[in-house]
Symmetry: C2
Subunit: 220 residues, 2 copies
């Protein structure tokens, strides 16, 4: 076991997908990847994350760490001698945590409603999501990355969600690029990083997956 790192994750997961993988890639940490469908509630997921039964689950030296943003902090602390994910200044750190949590808390619910529902529920969710995009874009301003010139915590949180952009645009019938040019340029800059490219899912496959899931949701 020793220093072994295992990641239980699911390729199209809206949050698991990128966040933790990008952080491990930035740190150059090798790990074993175990594809784990959270809808199947496999025994490995129940054993390793009995409280939320959610992916991603990071297992290091036989101990599990749950929740993507908590995993980012853990990874940053354990592999502290390589690429820093959080800034060292307490105030900058608090701000990064605030905006990471903003993405984590605010994006998920309206996003799945944009592709998973119809009618008024979808319209309300789209409106809400666009407001959150606007808030985040305004906060970014003219910076290269969230923290300035350095790719870090908030950028990773955002890119962990990026693969769903195309599906959200398709079902929500709007263009992120047209409505949020700065947000778009931001994600484009992040997409230049190898850690991101190697960690996130293919947007077209996510669109296909969203179609399947949408049909399933409607049948239920």
């Amino acid at each position: 076991m020793a220093d072994e790192v295992i990641l239980l994750d699911y390729w199209p997961s809206m949050f698991g997908m990128g966040t933790t993988k990008i952080a491990l890639a930035e740190k150059g940490v090798a790990y074993e990847y175990k594809e784990t469908d959270p809808r199947a509630k496999t025994s490995s997921l129940i054993e390793t994350n009995p409280i939320h039964k959610k992916i991603p689950v990071l297992i290091h030296k036989g101990k599990q760490i749950c929740e993507p943003l908590i995993q980012l902090e853990y990874i940053d602390e354990v592999w502290s001698d390589t690429y820093p994910i959080l800034p060292s200044d307490p105030y900058q750190k608090a701000q990064a945590r605030f905006w990471g949590a903003f993405i984590d808390k605010k994006f998920y619910d309206p996003s799945w409603k944009v592709w998973g529902t119809t009618g008024e529920e979808q319209v309300t969710a789209k409106k809400e999501l666009l407001e959150h995009f606007k808030t985040l874009e305004t906060e970014l301003g003219d910076k290269t990355y969230y923290g300035g010139d350095v790719f870090g915590f908030v950028d990773i949180a955002l890119m962990g969600y990026y693969s769903w952009f195309k599906a959200i645009e398709k079902f929500g019938e709007f263009s992120i690029e047209a409505e949020f040019p700065k947000l778009t340029q931001w994600t484009k800059r992040c997409l230049e990083r190898e850690s991101v490219v190697m960690s996130i899912a293919d947007s077209d496959k996510i669109v296909e997956y969203a179609y399947v899931l949408r049909r399933k949701l409607r049948a239920e």
Copy 2:
């Protein structure tokens, strides 16, 4: 301005109330307290927390830090030479963050529904809240405090919510002490700390406040 610390908070707030005040007390940090009713959405709240417009807001050296758990981390980092709030081991720290977030995310919604709603909505909320209490009690096990012998992050998060226990018992018609003896003993041990006693609101006043708010909610 210099090293000035200001706390915008509201005495009966379910989360603001205790958490940040307990942490500042443990660290021995003097601060100016400004009573701020979040329902009034005062201009000071809009200026200092424009995103969530929620209390508590911690202002240090003219810069605001929002969200109670992020404030705890900030306080622990800035005043690092006194009482440590988070453990130093990355795994223990991740666990403390997980359970702090569990209290922060899971308790609020069912709690206000227990005193603020009736009928099936209240019954469902009560059932949910009791499950969360059970989960937290099981996680505590036979330890003195969440982290073992040391009062810290998770204990502070719990005690920031404690003043609402009596109101929840009253409207939910159950006894926390009878159903969760270990949780009760845990809060009693925490109540022995001066930082807690001087920071949390009076439970009877919270019951009165819940009555008023309940009438208001029904009238709306």
